[in-house]
Every structure is written in C-alpha cells, then in structure tokens.
Amino acid sequence: MVTRITQLPTLRIDPAQKVVFDYKGKDYAGFKGDTIATALYHNGVKIFGRSLKYHRPRGLYSLDGECSNTCMEVDGIPNVRTENTLLKQGMKVKEQNVKGSAENDMMGFIDKLDFMMPAGFYYRTMHKPAVLWPVAMKQIRKAAGIGTISPDFEMPGRFEQIFPSADVVVIGGGPAGMNAALAAADKGLRVVIMESRPWLGGFFDYRTVDYRDSEYKKNKQLYIRAKELASKVESHSGIRVFKHASVVGTYTNNLVTGFQIGGEKDNFTERYIEIRAKSVVVAAGCIERPLLFENNERPGVMQVGCVHRLARTYGIIAGERAVFSVGHDLGLEAAIDLFDLGMKILCVADVREDGQNPYLMIELAKRNILLLKGWVVSEAHGSKRVKGVTMTTLDGTISRDFECDLVAASAGFTPINGHLTLAHAKLRYDSHTNFFVADTMPERTYSAGRMLGLEDSLSIEVSGMLAGLKAALECKKFYDAGICKTSDGVANSQESINQLSSEIDTVTAKLKELPGTARGSKFVNAPVKGRKSFICFDEDTTIKNIKQAVEMGFDVPELIKRFTSAGTGPGQGGIPGHNLPLYVAKYTAAKNSSSGSHPKPTNVRPPLVPTFISTYAGRKHIMMKRTPMDQMQRADGGVFRKIGVWERARYFSNDFSCKKEIENVRNNVGMLDGSTLGKFRIHGPDALKALQRVYVSDMSKVKAGRIKYSAMCNDDGCVIDDGVVIKLGENDYYFTTSTARAGSTIEWIRYHTRFDGWDFYLVNLTDSMGVINLSGPNARKVLQKVISQDNDASIQDVSNEAFPFSGYREFMIKNTIPVKAMRLGFVGELSYELHVPSSYMVSLWNMVKEAGKEFNIQNFGVEAQNVLRMEKCHIILGQESEQRTNLLDLGLGFLWDRTKKDAKTIGAAALRHAENDPTRFRLVGFKMEDNGRAPNDGALIVDDKVRGYVCTARDSFTLNEAVGMALVESHLAEIGTRLAIFEDECKGELIYGKVVPMPFYDPDGRRMKS
C-alpha cells in the first residue's frame, strides 16, 4: 500500500469517494478519479503484465498510454490501457500474457534467450525441414498476441456517433488550445475543442510554478491559470468542449475524427465524433522521449512527467528513493517539486553540460539535491523491479551506482505531430529544438504551443491565441467567398477581414518579443551495448536489433520498423516514434562515417489512439426499404430476404421448392407484390430523344394504350435493364425498370445525355406506386370483379379483345383509387400488373384478394416467380446474363433497331462489332436426359474445358421434367446438342442434358396471350 497525499490543490481524485474493484479475484479500493493503474499502484501493484516476446515484467512508465506496459484485461476486454482508463465501481481487472502471474511468470526465462532472436529471425528459421513449420507456427500463434477475447464476447455499453458542425476544431485542451479556442470563438465562429484527458488544462494542470504574465503580476501558479482559462472556455457560448475525447484521425479538407468516453451522466459508453471544420488548430503538446539505457523499461523506471503527475494529480509518491536522469529543465522542476512533496531524491543527472535554468539550479542547491551535469543513467538493476542504477558520464568513463526504487528518466520531449502528418504535413528535423517540425502545413491548419518547441508559459498562450486568430481568418475568408452571398450570421465584410489581419500582425509581434523556442536536448543513448536497451517496449525491440537490421540492408526507418516490428504495437509508436529515426540516422552515419543523414520519421497512421471497433461502428442502423405490403405479407407467412435495398417476400412456406405457390399460379390465380419495380416518368420536349439513346428499340413506335417491352444496354452491348414503356402523352412517358436498376436509372440516363443539352425531365416514382402482379388462368375473372364495381361499361370490359396482351389501361376503383393496368406475362400465364398509389396499395390488395377468394387466389413469392418464368424461358438479368453476354447472346436481338444510328444508342456499336463473332456464349434451354434431376444452378457445362454454365435449372412440377437455361459456347447451342454437366461435389460423375427449343412451357404463348 502506497500512502496517498489527499490534500493538494492539483489533485484530480476525490479521496472521499472510494471505488471498489476486483483485481485477480480480490477486492481492492481506489478513489474516484483514479485510473485503474493508479489505483493498482496505490495498492502496491508494481508489475502490470509481461512483455510480448521476452515476457519481461512491465510497470507504470507513462500515464498517457504510449506503450502497452499497463495493458490489462478489464471486464473481459483485452488490452485496456489501465494507466489512462478511469476506474469504475465493480471493474474486473486481470493481467495478460502471463503463465502464472505477472509477478511470477513461468515464461520469464525467454528473456535469457534473446540471442536466439535477432531482428527478423523468423524469416531464417523454422522452415527446415518443411514439416517443422506447421508445428512451429502453432507455437508462435500461442505465444503471440497479448490479451485474450472470447469468440462469444458481447461488448457491453452503448456506442453513439455525432457529426458536429464547426468552423474551427482545436485539438488539445491545454493552455495553447484554450487560447486558440477563445480567440476564434470571440470572432463569432463556432469552435470545438477536443481534449483527451477528462479535464482541460494540459501542461499547466499539475504545475505549481509561477505564471509569468506581466498583466497578472499576482504570483499566480500555472494550475490556477489553467483553471481560469478552462472556466472561460467552458462558459463561452461559441465553444463546444469535448473532454475525455481523443482525436484519432485528421484528414484533408479539415476533417477531424475522434471519440469521447462517456461520463456518469452521459447516455453513451463511447461515441465516435467526426467533424468537417473549416480550419483546424493543433495544440497537442509533447510527450517525453524515452531515455535509452540498459533495462530502461524495468518496473520502477518512469518518465518524469509520470512521476510528477502521479504525485500532483493522483497524490501518489511513486518511490522511496529516487534517481532522476533528465535532459531538460522540466525534469529539474519536477525534482524540486517532488522533493518538496516529500520524495527522497538521491541525485539528478542531466545530460546537458550546461544551459540549465539558473533559478532551478539555485532551488536544487537549496535542497541539497545532487546535480550531475553531463551524466546519464546507463543501466537499471534489479530483476523484477528497480533496485539500483548505474550512472555514467556521457562518454562512459566515470560511473557511480545508486540504490534506489525509482528512476525518473527522460531524454527530452517530442511533439505529438501525428495530427499534422496525417493531414499531410511534411516533417523536417530541427536541430535547435531537436524536434521533428512541420515544414509544410496542411491547408487551413495551424499549430500552437509546446509542439512548436515553446516552453515559456506566456509564449505558449500567445501562440495559441495567434493560431486561433489565423484559423478565424481562414473561416471568414471562406464565408466571404461563399457560393451564396446571403450571409446573415457572420459579419464577413472585407473590413472585418482587414481588422482580423491587423490583429494577427499585432499578436505576431507580441509573440516575437516573448521567449522563442527552447533548445532541445540532443539525442543521447547511454554508453552501453544495447542488448536490453529497448527502443520499443511493445515489441521488445532493442537497439541491437536496429543495428542488425541496418547491417542487413534496411536503411529506411520505415522499413526497419517493418523488419523489427518496432512501433507496430498497441502503443502506436509512442515510445519509438522519435528515437528510432534518430538512432538509425546516427548509426548509419557512424557506419558510413559520413557527417550524418537527416533523420526520417516513420509513418504515423490512424487511429492515433487505439479505438474500439464498437466505437467506430457507433450506432449503425440497418436501412432497408419495405413495400406497402410488408406487414401484411409477413402476417401471411412470407419468408423475407434482403434483396438489394429491399426486404422482399421470397417464399410463402418453408417448402423452398414453392410447389404449392407455383401450381396455384398455373392452375388458379396468384398475386405477387411487385412494388419494388423501378417506375419513372420522363417528360419534356426531348424525352423521346433520351429514350432513343438508352433503349435499344425504336421508341418512336410506342403506341398509346399499348406497352412496349424493351431493353437498355451498356456500352458493351450487355443488357443492363429491361422493362416496359408507356406513352402517356406527347413527349410524356411512364416506364419501368428492374428492381436492381431503380436507384441508378436517372443517373444513367443523365450520364449518357450529359453532352447533348436536351430538355427532358425525370421523376423517380418507384416508391410511389405499389404493384400487384395478378397471374393465372383466373386472373381476368378476378380483375373483372374488382373493376366492375364502379367503372363505366366501356372500361369494365377486360376481355381479350378489349384489353389484349401488351395492352395498357387506366381505371378508377370506386372512383377513388387510380390504377395503371398492364397486360403482361412474365410468368407465362394470363397476367396483369396493377400499379396503384402506394398508400392505397393495401386497400386494393385486399379488394383483389377478396375478389379472388372464390378462385383460390394465393400469394406467391419471388422464388416461385423465378421458377415460373424459367419454365417460360423469360430471363432475369444477372441470372441468365453476365459480363460476357450481350443482348444478342441472350436471344433478344429482335429488340434492337439497327436503323436509328443517329440516336447513338448505348451498346449499338458494340453489338455491331460482336454480332458476327462465332465464339461467344449463347443462352440455350435444355432438359435432362433420362428423366434425370435438375443440376444445381451454377453447374458447369464441360468437355475437357469449361464451356459454359447452368443459369437456372429446376425439376419442373408443371412439365414433369427437369429443365433449365444455360450459357454455353455457341458451338454447343444447336438444338439437340448433348451437354455434359459438371456439378460441385460430383467427383467427376457428369450428368447430361440436351439442348431443346425455348420456351419449355406454353411455347406458342396461348396461355399468356389469350
């Protein structure tokens, strides 16, 4: 148990509120505001898990999740970064990747076998002899991975998504970000600020040194200044604050994505956030650069900020006897502050020979803290946790050992550049700050604060203000150039732009007077061999591994990353991101004895913070279309399937052969809901021209009162759609398309006429009309009954003479329901298609059903229709056609009018080119030999090669034999040709069919046409 300081003004825990949780089956308690890791640390847990490859013990190192050291399983969820996950009542916490326990891991011996595992060793081992590999692979798989997830795991919680609109997004809720937000919001813009920690304040939040703004002069401490800024931001009506919200992606055109973790009062566990801003300010701050020395990840080695924040934010003094090895003034500041909070500090090594802040030197001296300038920690001792360290001078000539249980180690800082590079900023290494800095910024994006290399508190704030103003100016310019000049919300006059520009000049000048970028600490690695100096903790990649990779010819950091895996673990490159390129540059320079190449940063990839799949998914609603008959058909026992964008009744019983449905259509009468058919009106002076372009037939021949069946092709001459066209008036047509094409028909027609400048107008009426397909020998009788009720005598006549095949009529049912009726015959029977306004569909359906009762009217579904039309050899596009078949191959050449060349009909040229090619596929009908069963759809037609395939084949109840249609090479298309059919799982046993004339059912069309 570590004693807690419970009285500090900077604390973010509430010691009055206990939170009980379960760790490995036992109850532990932390405080409200604790992270899981701080609560565990408070309870004396120092080893959180074991490393991926060597099973080395790992402890708390940073507090922002830059490595997987504190990843644990929480409530069944693996790889939870406990160091920045808030503790909740009742949480169940477990260690990962251990055999036994994290404290005593039976796999720990692997740490000694590192000599067997140089960089890329997998590639050079375990494949000789070949039988070894499958065995080895199983072991590798078991050893890999860190956490465990069960295949039936159900993610608890509610995940939401929002797409807030904003003008400016500020990334980072520290002093620079808050200033940027205030500056932009004060100009009347809509600002969103996103901060990954649960509070605003950032770099100021835990620091008690004085804020040196001359305007205040009140000896104010930084954390107080942070609170002041936070309250301004949170109360500003123009600023929307997302706390506990990490940005995970930044993209071109100022798109920012992230997610927020829900608090107690929120109705979400996490929510995905996506914002299309007009300008972005990145003020993401810095993380610490790990110091490279032997055993630099031993539990007890922590980053300076981690030690400092543990004390100031969580009230935890991380060790009894501490040694510091730092490279910057903040390290010295932390040592002083921690000393004052009661930490025993044996020494502070600073890699810098000089340049320390004199004030801090005096304060150290006042406290008798030993400062070793030009020294660095070279090795941590202790097998499971730090028991001591060796400190050396930078050249390694003098060394000193200290016994200690805490090493606060930090080589310096490195900016969090991911938000910039993801949005295409190009980085350059700056030798003054020793930062990678953005050379070219993404459009309308500005950065501010510490990531620029600023350390002075006022400079940081002013840089934020400047970035906020610049962002505001971009937005103003955007609105000023807006397509609509009807702005009322924002004053966009040139005047306000000028005013803003001059304000920017003033602030720029002010910033110039303030301290500029600080000199950063140079890249240092302790004078050791680096066998266990880890450049990447997640992947156990050592300095030695990097050297090996370079020797083998990998000279680009990005490739070394691939070869050694460094930076590819759950820490998202946080640990090696800076050190890897620097080390590679240094090592290759030394190797080639050149003066040094420029460090090239490795790629950063989204998500910048590991993000739950459930969070990205947010609230995904299944969006399907339903016909007006949906509920009723379900009540009638319809078995529904999602077909394209629609929910459709495919069957009306669990007999998927649909025998009853089929027989009832053939013998009595059936009704099918065809509402999904595409339906359109085209009108305007050039409507006919447009139809001539897209349909293969001569559409000038469409007659009033008649329907015209035709097809649309693509430029390859493949049929993309078929349907009927009805002439409603001069240059006014109603036409139907297949269900699949309904959504793209308008787009298609407009595309193919886009250069012509024709005046025609299209209206998609698909959803506005329900369609009843009334089919079967009794269909006429049913229709007669439905319409006889009120139409006048001339309309009432639906005899074959008055309403023949291919006829079109309009009725009013009960003087109320307008119906467009077409005499068609897709299923091969006497058949009517009734188009009715969708809202009336249920009523008309019920009327038809009632009228049909005496004729045993029944529902039939899409599959029954499929079989019925197959017997009649009517094709379904996509089923009897594909990429390799054109209009002619399908036997639909009769639709094509070759005389209308001026129409530049789509597909016509291709049809002309291909029509004499003897090697094409042909659609044929076949029946099975010797009363054999039907082959599976998709079976192949073969000889020694594949010669075609079966499109649709069924054992026909109507014909009492097995029939089908197939696409075959044209030399097999002649009537009487024997087809050898190869089915899946046939084990070489072929079955045979014979090409027969089409259609199989009612070949002379008497049933359909009379």
Binding site: I162, S165, G489, G729, S843
Partner: protein, 239 residues
Amino acid sequence: MVEIKRYSPVSFKASPKRTEIRDNFTVVLEYEGEGQQPFDPSNSKDNYIVDLSHITRFDVQSSNLDDITPFGIKIPQGLCESYLQDSVLINRMNRVQASIFCLPVKKDESSKECQFDFQCSCDSDCKCDPKKSSAYTETTEVGMCMAIFGKNTFSITEKLTSLDFLDPVKKTPFLYQGPMSHIPCQIITLSRDGAKSGIIFTASRGYGKDMTHAIMDAGAEFGLKPAGEDRFKSWAGSL
C-alpha cells in the same frame, strides 16, 4: 367489403388521442401524452416529430422555371433556397427543378390551404396549377415526410448526418439535398431559432420504418416525442 384507406409509411409507438379522416388518410391530430396544451413553440423544452406523409407534394421541372408559378407563387431563384408562403413551401432543387409541399396550417388563421382553395384563371398552357400543367408531377406518394422541431433539433440531426444545418451562410428556410442516416433526403430547415428550431424532410417512402427507427433512437436522449398534426400547425404558424 373492403374499406378504402390510405396508409402512411410512418408509424409511431404512441396512441393517437384525436384523429381526422382526410382524403382517406387517418391523420393523427394529437397523440396521448404529447405534453402541454396549448403548445407554445417559442417557449418549449420538448422535441417533437410529426408524420406529414399525407401532405400533398409536387415535383416541377422546366428549363424555364421563372415562368412557373405554383399556386401563383414565384419559385425562389437561388439554388437550394426555399420559400414559405402561407401553407406553400417551395424548394429550388436545381436549375430546372423545384419541389412543392402543401403544409397543413391552422384553420383559424386567415391563410389559405393551397391545394384546396387555389383558383387558377389560366385557360390553356397553365403554369400555376399542378393539376393542369404537365410540368408538375404529384410526388405525395414518393416519399415519407416528417417534421422534427424543438430546441434539440440539431442535436438530433448531428447524430444522423454531417450536413451543417447551422451554416451561418444559409438563410432560413433553406433546402439540403443530402444524406441522413445514409438515405438521400430533401431537408428543409425552417427555423434555427432556439426552441422554435425545426426541419421538414422527405426521403423514399420505402425507408419509412427504418428511418423512423433511426430518428427515434437518436432522439431518445432528448425526449423526442411523436406529435400530431395540430402541434405541427402551431409550430409552423409561429414561424
């Protein structure tokens, strides 16, 4: 005997309190538990959704839209601008196309209900009466139509679409043609004024059920409630 009835593609999990049969639609005027009556749109903390799928709508297309005057009203010139006059809402969709919504309005007000009262004096080549001119197509049945209004209107929409309803460049009422819950919609923002904020939108009729579900789910945290047409009238009347 089958009773002739028209059905909306939208239905709410709420019990109608008062209904009215109109043109064979059963129009809900008020649902149980809708909240305070009479409704004061400018001072309400609640958020409502109203099914307006029964209202008459038209599509009008012409290469010369300036000539076309639906119900005698000029079509707005600016692309994606809307114009609301009495009960007629006209939305300029593109260079050659506009949509027209005939909104229900308060009976007791002097404003006319366009679709019933409109008298056209043209004898031939009519450009103002949708029933006479071939430039118009009735689209009532093409889409569902709903209104969402209340102070959290845009907190609800931001969960469903990235369209920027609060874009300061836009002036209400204005039209968005864009996706909501992944479905292409026409969305007209009628007001962005605090508690009076609200939109009307249409989308393909077939999506009625799933769209309703998506909106109710998004609106749950803001207490989004189904309301009857009367509440819509009070709101629309206050604009």
